[in-house]
Symmetry: C2
């Protein structure tokens, strides 16, 4: 934006140029595991997301991202969508000094190949190693047994009005009592834990340094604010699979209905009713027969199906709906 007269003042004020990074949450999935591609500088450092500075030879932001990812991970991205721009001046240790802003424009990318990312410093990780409370496939995650009492303590720490606000927010995001679990509120949950000081990222710059590890929520930390970005991406993807057939960006060319269901379950973190899931997929016309079957599944052979690209034109909002959890 190079215009002028609309802003009479401050044009000439001290203005440290911000640095702009492009970062990518690259996701893949098997029927069992939702994965994210992480990179690590040294074995001691926490995992991070592939990222790199925006450069003037990048024609578009998205192309800059693709360039960086190709260089760092040898991956050619398919589906890419912008997530959010993070840029609070105090978002990292280094920037609290008051230098310029460090912006990070985060993208969500979906890929099919889940091969072990040949490079030594890059690896596919299960989402839930970073956010273990998000996986309800085996029932209520145990991480919540730790989180719940600590959130209660945090809520009680304030005065009455603050306390009630906090309790309502806890109920709204984690649904411990009546509410029930809402699979999409991933970011809200992470931010609540952050504010409550239950993730190490929140304590990095505090004085005195890091209290005992016992007080933290389970789950691996990530570099900078990358765990927040990951939470943003998971929430977005969980929402999106319900009204757009993005799930197929993660599936192989042909698959069984159970594989599709398991993959959806892995992403959304909840279990689904098998027959109803099939009915939904069939009536929506999301898939078509390949004519082949596979016996590798155990019991009765399963038909192999493929995604029907035509639904993109036929239906305004095809996607895989999910049930509520209580």
């Amino acid at each position: 934006m190079a215009s002028s007269s609309r802003r009479p003042k401050t044009r000439a004020q001290p203005h440290v140029a911000p640095t702009v990074d492009l970062s990518a949450v690259i996701m893949a999935a098997t029927p069992d595991e939702p994965r994210v591609l992480t990179v690590r500088a040294t074995p001691q450092q926490p995992d991070g997301l592939p990222s790199g500075p925006l450069q003037s030879e990048h024609r578009t932001l998205e192309m800059g991202l693709r360039t960086w990812v190709a260089e760092q991970t040898q991956l050619t991205l398919g589906y890419v969508e912008q997530l959010y721009t993070f840029g609070d001046r105090d978002r990292t240790e280094a920037d609290a000094s008051g230098a310029g802003h460090a912006l990070s424009i985060a993208y969500l990318a979906l890929v099919r190949e889940a091969r072990p990312a040949g490079l030594a410093h890059a690896a596919w990780r299960n989402w839930y190693s970073y956010l273990p409370w998000e996986d309800w496939r085996e029932g209520r995650p145990k991480a919540l047994d730790v989180i719940k009492p600590r959130l209660k303590v945090w809520a009680r720490a304030g005065g009455k009005p603050l306390r009630q606000l906090r309790e309502e927010r806890i109920e709204l995001t984690f649904g411990f009592e009546a509410e029930g679990w809402s699979d999409e509120r991933v970011l809200e949950r992470y931010e609540l834990l952050f504010e409550a000081g239950l993730v190490p990222e929140a304590l990095r710059d505090t004085q005195p340094p890091v209290p005992s590890k016992v007080r933290l929520a389970p789950g691996l930390p990530m570099a900078l604010d990358h765990r927040r970005i990951l939470a943003t991406a998971i929430g977005r993807l969980r929402g999106k699979i319900k009204y757009r057939p993005v799930i197929f960006e993660l599936m192989p060319a042909s698959f069984t209905l159970l594989e599709l269901q398991k993959t959806v379950e892995a992403l959304s973190g909840v279990r689904l009713h098998k027959q109803n899931f099939r009915r939904l997929v069939e009536v929506q016309g999301l898939v078509e027969e390949t004519g082949e079957v596979t016996t590798e599944t155990g019991g009765r052979p399963a038909r192999l199906v493929r995604f029907r690209r035509e639904v993109l034109i036929e239906r305004p909002a095809p996607g895989v709906r999910l049930p509520r959890l209580r």
Copy 2:
């Protein structure tokens, strides 16, 4: 992002610092008109959105935005949400030169006061003066009579495969044939018109300069890529009112159910079934009685209601659902 070892190369490459602007789509609404706050440098220039450069004294992006808006429009923003970051190097005339990137981080803000924005250079405008094809409240907008044949011509201009792709995309976004109108695809429609060369913004830098005005779609242009940003904001808001009670950010403290309905219609651009709308609002518990009635509506006096803030805690996804249009 100030990390290091994850990106071995290109750290020292030519790297013109990008400029970062914060821009705001500030919306208000009456039961009849959805409005956006625009600013104009000179009477000759097209309308633009309030915006200003990110500065190092801004602690967070959102606070920077609020500061700029307060300065340019005297408004104190309430609800604010980040929309998208625009930043293709060729997004404006000035930047095509290959200087640095001009990023624009766009925000959506909702305000109640729709007073005439005291300042001479700022004004509230009806959304649909910029995007007239988005208003279906009085039936199919006439703008489409112009747009449809021109899009057909554009589709036919390519070879067979390209042509089919274009026709499918037209159908998907505008739903001329079977599909029907989808109120949320505002951005997709604008971008299609842009690609088809039907909006003047698309022709600004072309050689030879601007062909006859007769070839364009109706609707006022805006500065830079601001009409694209507006389209993004409208699409986002139309989606959001369906699952979050953001509509109340635009309503006065108390209102009648018909006023609420009319406002939703103004935003979504479609007409709703009165009795069903009321049923929905009632069963969702979105409002409560104030005890007062108003006779200003014409016929039988209407109850005045107010928003019930409690629903934010009670219901996971309250919002105003809309019907399909065929």
